[in-house]
């Protein structure tokens, strides 16, 4: 798809120290529980105390990341707000299901129902920033964030001054168990640092909130430009290869969504074949596997392009990188079904 936009601001809450401080001195957070949990900041500077009390975890993470990305962008008036989330606030969904059962459908507190609605974070952001423009939420597994991104780029092409575009996902203990029953995670505890060498069925779980402020034209403040974009639904290996080949020119680094899942690793091997000699970095040992992990990958790519540095402690496998990183290809897929390719360039 012919698209172009610029990242003006961004923020991420993730299992790594991405929200505050210097990511280049941050140690690598790892786990052997097969679940990487977000490092949550103090929400008080972002959300009034009386609101904070009622809000569940994903709402706090989503709203705070959105507000931080706006601060980072320096943009005063936020236009359309578009997000992606595969599962929404699982904590609220689970709570409401449980309370219906527990209280036999009577005297129920509506708050978990309201907060379980997939667009509840969008509504909260709009309330807090008085965002009365377009507002949309995509809920399609590994295409959730990427559809939000596509929508945002269309909005910019239609004349929107900017968009607030993000993704949010949480993992609960209950949902972790549910997904373990159908093979989402590795069956034995795996050190997240060993994710790529421990090839076996399943991956490790993760979560995160990532937001970007996007514009259609560059400014002195732009962190990176998005210049290529493709989504492929349940493609064959050949279709993936053809898709990747379209973005072959002048790629300095490929970020891959490799996740140690032996069932779908063959798609990532296309990158090895098509980009010989081009360095690759995987990122799922940082954020874990989740519906909107692609948003974390895009945050990382923009971070690298903007600072021309790779957080060394996160990548012990780091090979020699080119002196200048001008173009990064991000290739991710969610359990072999939703494949996404994004090209980001240095501004």
């Amino acid at each position: 798809m012919k698209v172009k936009c610029y990242i003006q601001g961004m923020a991420a809450i993730s299992p790594q120290a991405t929200f505050e401080g210097d990511v280049f001195s941050a140690p690598l957070v790892h786990t052997d529980s097969n679940l990487l949990t977000c490092m949550e900041p103090d929400y008080k500077p972002f959300i009034p105390a009386n609101s904070l009390r009622r809000m569940t975890r994903l709402l706090k993470m989503g709203l705070t990341t959105a507000l931080q990305s706006i601060r980072d962008s320096g943009v005063e008036a936020i236009g359309p707000i578009v997000t992606g989330t595969g599962k929404g606030s699982l904590q609220d969904t689970e709570k409401f299901i449980r309370e219906i059962e527990q209280y036999k459908e009577t005297a129920l507190n509506p708050t978990p129902f309201i907060q379980s609605t997939y667009n509840s974070v969008n509504g909260l952001i709009a309330l807090q920033v008085k965002g009365t423009a377009y507002n949309n939420t995509f809920v399609h597994r590994g295409f959730s964030f990427e559809n939000a991104l596509l929508d945002s780029m269309m909005l910019l092409a239609e004349g929107a001054p900017n968009t607030l575009t993000g993704a949010l996902e949480e993992m609960t203990a209950e949902h972790f168990y549910i997904k373990s029953r159908i093979g989402f995670w590795k069956s034995t505890p795996t050190d997240s640092r060993q994710l790529y060498v421990q090839q076996s069925p399943g991956s490790i779980a993760g979560e995160g909130a990532t937001f970007f402020v996007l514009t259609g034209t560059p400014t002195a403040h732009s962190k990176a430009a998005l210049t290529g974009f493709k989504m492929l639904y349940k493609p064959t290996e050949a279709k993936v290869a053809a898709g990747l080949a379209e973005f072959k020119e002048n790629v300095d680094l490929v970020l891959t969504g490799r996740n140690g899942d032996s069932r779908y690793e063959h798609f990532y091997r296309q990158v090895d074949t098509l980009f010989p000699g081009v360095p690759q970095l995987p990122f799922k040992h940082l954020c874990g596997e989740h519906d909107t992990a692609g948003a974390f990958g895009m945050w990382l790519a923009a971070q690298i392009l903007h600072t021309q540095q790779v957080p060394a402690q996160w990548f012990p496998m780091l090979e020699a990188l080119p002196a200048n990183i001008n173009r990064i290809l991000l290739y991710n897929h969610f359990y072999g079904e939703q494949h996404t390719m994004i090209v980001l360039e240095r501004v």
Partner: protein, 404 residues
């Protein structure tokens, strides 16, 4: 200049019919689909009316043309039934003949089936065939099963903005066409009744124990419904080259947020006003050219005041004919926008204004009241269809007669 977007196929299933023709028949006969649920396990079975599709899942499998039963939820089956009709009506036997995207809408995915087995799913001591429903809870499951059954492989997406979800799906599809990404899109939504949603709205004290009474002074809330609807959208150049039968033109739309309250609309209907005004401006039609408004009209205390005020603010003393069709179909949440978009096309094609059932007494806050009897032989050229949802999400669509 962006391409015009035409509607070239429609398919639906609701409590008042398994297809578009049956829906039209029941609308003409002013027969509501409201009653009591046969399929949800709830203490409100005989208390809270709903508009349920009158088939159990076995019958729906036949309607949807599905032989394998594994893991298909009611949400998916309703969606497939509507999808097959939409494709048939558009003359599409193979969606692969032209690049075709699919934008679906859902509020709770396969909750209708997962809620029945949820406590088994989370219980490590239990195992069985219920495990096939594990991955049907999210909203993408129904979209992908529909896509895989009929063969969509191009762009797919699922939107969830509560009660405006499928209006936003139609908008997103139209915009992809206008930006040249795809010549043809199938857009809409599917929603099955669930104990989860029924208790959700009931906990908000938003559900009427009687049949809902939109825009009536005595209204006390909504009735939930279920169903699915999809519309085939085509670019003008594609529709002409393909010799498609054009049913109507999708001339305008707007999505605007109120930023007022998580679940309540603003008292003066700021979001509704903005959405209708901007959608109409995009359509290039004047206020006077609007012949009918299919209002959101849920019959909740807040919605109808807010939406009514917005109508009065926008149209002054000349508010067009309007009605809510929710007393026929119930509030079908994610499917509502697409179901009502089809009703808008039917109003244009058939020269009909559908009645707002159960209306008796004008609201004291408003000077306007809805159409209460079926009107036939009306020249309907432009219809506004409203869908408003939680999170301040307001969507208005303008559907117009195809004039060549």
């Amino acid at each position: 200049m962006a391409e015009r977007v035409f509607i070239t196929g429609m398919g639906m299933i609701t409590a008042i019919g398994d297809n578009v023709a049956e829906n039209l028949g029941q609308l003409r006969q002013q027969r509501s689909g409201l009653g009591f649920t046969s399929y949800i396990d709830t203490i409100y079975q005989q208390v809270l009316p709903v508009a349920e599709v009158k088939h159990n899942n076995d019958a729906l499998f036949a309607l949807a043309g599905i032989t394998s039963h594994e893991g298909y939820t009611r949400t998916t089956l309703l969606g497939l039934t509507a999808m097959r009709e939409a494709l048939r009506q558009a003359g599409i036997t193979d969606v692969q003949t032209a690049p075709t995207g699919f934008i679906n809408a859902s509020t709770v995915g396969g909750m209708c089936d997962t809620e029945k087995v949820y406590f088994d799913i989370v219980d490590p001591t239990k195992s069985g065939t219920f495990l096939q429903y594990i991955d049907t809870l999210d909203c993408a499951d129904c979209t992908q099963r529909i896509a895989d059954t009929v063969g969509f492989t191009e762009h797919i997406a699922t939107i969830s903005t509560a009660c405006s979800s499928s209006a936003n799906a139609l908008m997103f599809g139209a915009r992809m066409i206008k930006q040249g990404f795809m010549p043809r899109m199938v857009c809409g939504g599917t929603e099955a009744l669930t104990r989860f949603t029924l208790n959700g709205f009931n906990s908000l004290k938003n559900v009427d124990k009687q049949f809902c009474r939109p825009f009536d002074q005595q209204r006390t809330g909504l009735n939930l419904g279920e169903g699915a609807a999809y519309l085939v959208l085509e670019s003008e150049s594609f529709a002409k080259a393909n010799n498609s039968r054009i049913l109507a033109e999708f001339t305008g739309y707007c999505n605007a947020n109120e930023a007022f309250h998580p679940t309540s609309p603003s008292p003066d209907g700021d979001g509704a006003y903005e959405a209708m005004k901007a959608a109409l401006a995009m359509s290039g039609r004047t206020l006077e050219e609007v012949d009918y408004i299919n209002v959101h009209g849920t019959a909740t205390l807040n919605n109808d005041v807010s939406e009514g005020k917005a109508l009065e603010r926008l149209f002054g003393n000349n508010v067009p004919l309007f009605s809510s069709t929710k007393p026929f179909t119930g509030h079908t949440l994610a499917a509502a926008g697409a179901i009502e978009a089809i009703y808008a096309v039917l109003a244009i094609q058939q020269g009909l204004i559908f009645p707002n059932l159960n209306f008796k007494e004008k609201m004291e806050e408003l000077n306007i009241s809805p159409v209460t009897e079926l009107m036939e032989g009306v020249s309907v050229n432009n219809v506004i269809s409203n869908s408003f949802g939680f999170g301040g999400n307001n969507a208005s669509l303008v559907i117009s007669k195809y004039e060549g």
